[in-house]
Symmetry: C2
Subunit: 281 residues, 2 copies
Amino acid sequence: MPEGHMIHVDARRFDEAMGDRVVHTDSPQGRFADGAAALDGRTLRDTEAFGKNLFLRFSGDSPQYLHVHLGLIGGWTWWDADHQQLSGRPVVNADSSNVRLRLRTGRGDAERSAELRGAITCTLVDEEGMDRAVAKLGPDPLRDDADPGLAWAKVRKSKKPIGGLLLDQAVTAGAGLIWRAEVPFLAGVDPHRPGVDVTEDEFTTMWSEMARVMSEAVERGGKEITTDPADRPETDGHVSRDDAFYVFRRDGAPCLRCGTEIRVAEMGTRKVWWCPTCQPR
Amino acid sequence: MPEGHMIHVDARRFDEAMGDRVVHTDSPQGRFADGAAALDGRTLRDTEAFGKNLFLRFSGDSPQYLHVHLGLIGGWTWWDADHQQLSGRPVVNADSSNVRLRLRTGRGDAERSAELRGAITCTLVDEEGMDRAVAKLGPDPLRDDADPGLAWAKVRKSKKPIGGLLLDQAVTAGAGLIWRAEVPFLAGVDPHRPGVDVTEDEFTTMWSEMARVMSEAVERGGKEITTDPADRPETDGHVSRDDAFYVFRRDGAPCLRCGTEIRVAEMGTRKVWWCPTCQPR
């Protein structure tokens, strides 16, 4: 599942390629035919990402917002004017018959199209609908308007493990398995520690580290890296997947800081990783 | 998560290395100290795998059965007399402090030890406890005593998708994400097809294909391959992960039989893959 920073990357891409332009829309798969017809020919006014939710605001009558949540398997594919693929997973299917929604804009070399496949949410909503969806979410560390105090108020009262709380989109919006593992490492906190046993200083560190690593990932176009160059075996510029993280998917490998074997456990039916030495309970 | 065939591989390994021998047991982590103390010095009499559940029967007073379910992250690591690792994920942790249970047997060169990490179930049960655990499971295609009719009776009445039913351990025991994707492909059935719309012939094909591909994986020591050599790009003996499956994790790639783009969707919070041409709805 794409974590929240990727949705902010998607929002930027829509802004740059389609912002303030007339957009043509259709639904090759047919499952969003009515929605696509309602958007066709409108202008993209704004893009907003809240955690893993993307909202595109269009000109015209209500409903104005396209709400997309990619879920576990959804994704956007971008194409240029010559139908060369610009981003997304490699696609071989020329007939696009599994594309829920296609947006196309620009002319000549500026032509771009974006195809949406496999999203769990793809729907048109009015402003109230957007507010309702956003109201369910905790603060998103990537947003300037986020209030970390709302997240801290929930964390400090909860007996659930901090690794689970970070994944709960109603506590903080945007984190997935990568950040829920890496952020407690960066703050030196065992992810099993109950929220009630996390100090305010530790929470503040986690919030600012999450904002930092997610922002850096957005700047890199999505690529997630949390390791400090000094902790990486190689520093020739290229950071391999193996060296990009301190604990995520590194169970059985030695900690890059202390050499202790990285652990893995189940937490809420999903995996969590940590270093038992660097992250005291 | 290891699928059922790996548990049958584990059962064989215990049989070969420790069957009819006195076994010494301890719990370096301490969380299974009482259980390990109760088993220490007993003889391993039998091993049984039912789906993803392993039962080791020991000599002595009840409880005689060690019941292990690896869950999402559990695993066995095997070591020889010189403490060289024989199998399992690479382990660097010399002090074994995350080992729930360690079993050791043999003398001299025949010495073997098995370490259990991260299992969701590791418990001692009596015969009744084992029967209770097994009674919850559907038939296991790898077992000679399995009755596929019990699975078919559930499938034919269910409106749930066959891809979900195959993953339900109460319908068939042992399948995970690989088999629930590959087996419908081998039978030419869309995994979204409701159980009630699967014909008895199609179900019989799925059952026998599941038994075949899982047995072959057991014979290979666990390695899963479902593709026919004629459908693989290379046939030099080595089968890469990319060529081992028809649909599992191949979304976006062309079908090895017809070239159509393999699809992915969410089913019961997990992924399922299929070829829309080879697997009609």
